[in-house]
Amino acid sequence: MNNIYINTKNNDIEPDEDVKSSSGRGWAKLKRNKAALMGGIFLLIYIGCALGAPILFRGDPSAPNLMDSLSPPCAKYFLGTDELGRSILGRILYGSRVSLMIAVGVVGVGLLFGVPIGLISGYYRGKTDFIIQRFTDMMLAFPGFLLALALVAILGVGLENTVISIGISMVPLYIRLVRGCVLTIREEVYVKAARAIGTKDRHIILRHILPNVLAPITVQTSLGMGTAILFAAGLGFLGIGVQPPTPEWGSMLGSARAYMMGKPHVATFPGIAIFLAVLSFNLLGDGLRDAFDPRSKI
């Protein structure tokens, strides 16, 4: 990377904070960050919708009701209905469960493979590192969304395959991120000291290195969830993601395309849902980065 360093002139750290620990300072900074706070509130609402969908909307969000098809927003249907007469509000609420599941699953896959491989790659260096890095090069030669597309082409459509495809496409990002951090941390005095007194590698990696990589991993996880929702919605929109009748925001938009001439509401609301969900993760991720990982830039 190019010369990245903390520029003290631009940092708005107040003098009284110098006495706090760095993580305490981070939390204090996060709490003062209004954007991150808003992201957190949005996120809570989003999780609330996902968990409380059966309470907030009674009935089956996938059951067609052709009598009321393509109804505009009204008292009975707050956000109108789609081409099969299903409540858009109900489908958005249940769709939040699907998208949240995807986001958690995708990041889970990314962390599960990316973090251990990144730790090993950065800690042991040498041949292992070389092979792992060439492999990540190979995966990063494709833009993320296209890699996910290629994987879907192999694995097939559906919820699970959407999660696996997008998850795998994110693994190289986690490997790179973790490895990069480990390379600097492994040269720190405390790691050298631990090695000098004969601490086992596993212990050093898990107890001394991993805790210091957690901040960038947390930031990446928050931003990664936003990306996962966008990617999954994209796949759903193209018709190769989660399949109907499962309420999924992207596929809702995909089928709404045919009716946008006279019924723009069908396409408008699922898009707003995607936007708000992604925005909440991005706001929170930005706030987390400013607070805990101020050296990175975008």
Binding site: A35, A141, P143, L146, L149, G234, R257, L279
Partner: protein, 306 residues
């Protein structure tokens, strides 16, 4: 300079090999017989047999890979199971459309993103800065295909200013480019802002100010020039996002490009075509990264001597 160029060119060989390896094994990861997969579900046993012999699928894997590379070098990407046309011909016909769309989008994104980032950085924590920050956050969070649909509803269906889809005149290009650019402009603006903020606090900027230089000259000649390297890096990286976004944008606007071709091929399980178009996307991305590396050397002469 020549040395630098040569080194960079050599460095992409392993990447290219990696791309081909990944694609080669992609087909073999599918359940079933690769020859049947490539020929498509409708193919007769005789057709399958022809493909098997043609691709040497009865031979050991490393020979198969070698023959795969050999065919790639001769631009033979196989035959589409859907249209029965050679894959390379179909790709060749669609590629210019995608490149045109991507270039328009990236030009638009730079034209708006870099000035927006500079303005935000020059007046940090002012209303302009907040506006740019919020707008770029919105841009990053917005699904590109939804933005496309919304623009279409407003400008094509309601106002009827621009065509809703297809290709032909410059008017057809406006909505797809804007949609695709919106996605990338946000990243460029954010990166420009943070790089400019860093550069503007450097000693040489203070020196330039104390010499009494005009603020405009300081910002453009001294600051922006030094902030360009990371900005170019981001533009290059965003090109990957742009290609991914192109798949969605092309679908929204029925733009006959490579992205649309991939989606149609996936839906039709036309694996020769999927393989070919993903390969071309990979090559395109690698090429852009190479161009980015070479631009570094022009923007910052120090890089050449490293």
């Amino acid at each position: 300079m020549l040395n630098f160029l040569l080194k960079r060119l050599l460095a992409i060989i392993p990447v290219l090999l990696g791309i081909t390896l990944l694609l080669f094994f992609m087909l073999r990861m599918l359940p079933g017989d690769p020859a049947q997969v490539l020929a498509g579900q409708m193919a007769s046993p005789a057709d399958v047999e022809i493909i098997r012999v043609q691709m040497g699928l009865d031979k050991p894997v490393y020979i198969q890979y070698a023959s795969f590379l050999n065919r790639l070098v001769h631009l033979d990407l196989g035959v589409s199971a859907r249209t029965q046309n050679p894959v390379i011909e179909e790709i060749w016909a669609k590629l210019p459309n995608t490149v045109l769309l991507a270039l328009c989008a990236i030009t638009l994104a730079c034209a708006f993103g870099i000035p927006a980032g500079v303005i935000a950085a020059v007046r940090p924590y002012s209303w302009v800065d907040y506006l740019v920050t919020i707008a770029s956050l919105f841009g990053i969070s917005m699904p590109v295909f939804w933005l496309g649909i919304m623009l279409m509803i407003v400008f094509s269906i309601t106002l009827q200013w621009l065509p809703a889809g297809g290709i032909g005149t410059w008017k057809h290009l406006v909505l797809p480019s804007v949609t695709l650019a919106a996605f990338v402009v946000a990243f460029i603006a954010r990166m420009t802002r943070s790089c400019m903020l860093e550069v503007l606090s450097q000693d040489y900027v203070t020196t330039a100010r104390s010499k009494g230089l005009k603020e405009k000259a300081i910002i453009i000649k001294h600051a922006l020039k030094n902030a360009l390297i990371p900005i170019i890096t981001v533009v290059g990286l965003q090109f990957g996002l742009l290609l991914g976004g192109a798949v969605l944008t092309e679908t929204v606007f029925a733009w006959p490009g490579l992205g649309r071709l991939i989606v149609d091929s996936i839906l039709a399980r036309d694996y020769a075509m999927i393989q070919g178009s993903i390969l071309i996307f990979g090559l395109l991305y690698t090429l852009v990264n190479l161009v980015v590396d070479l631009t570094y050397a022009f923007v910052d002469p120090r890089i050449r001597y490293e």
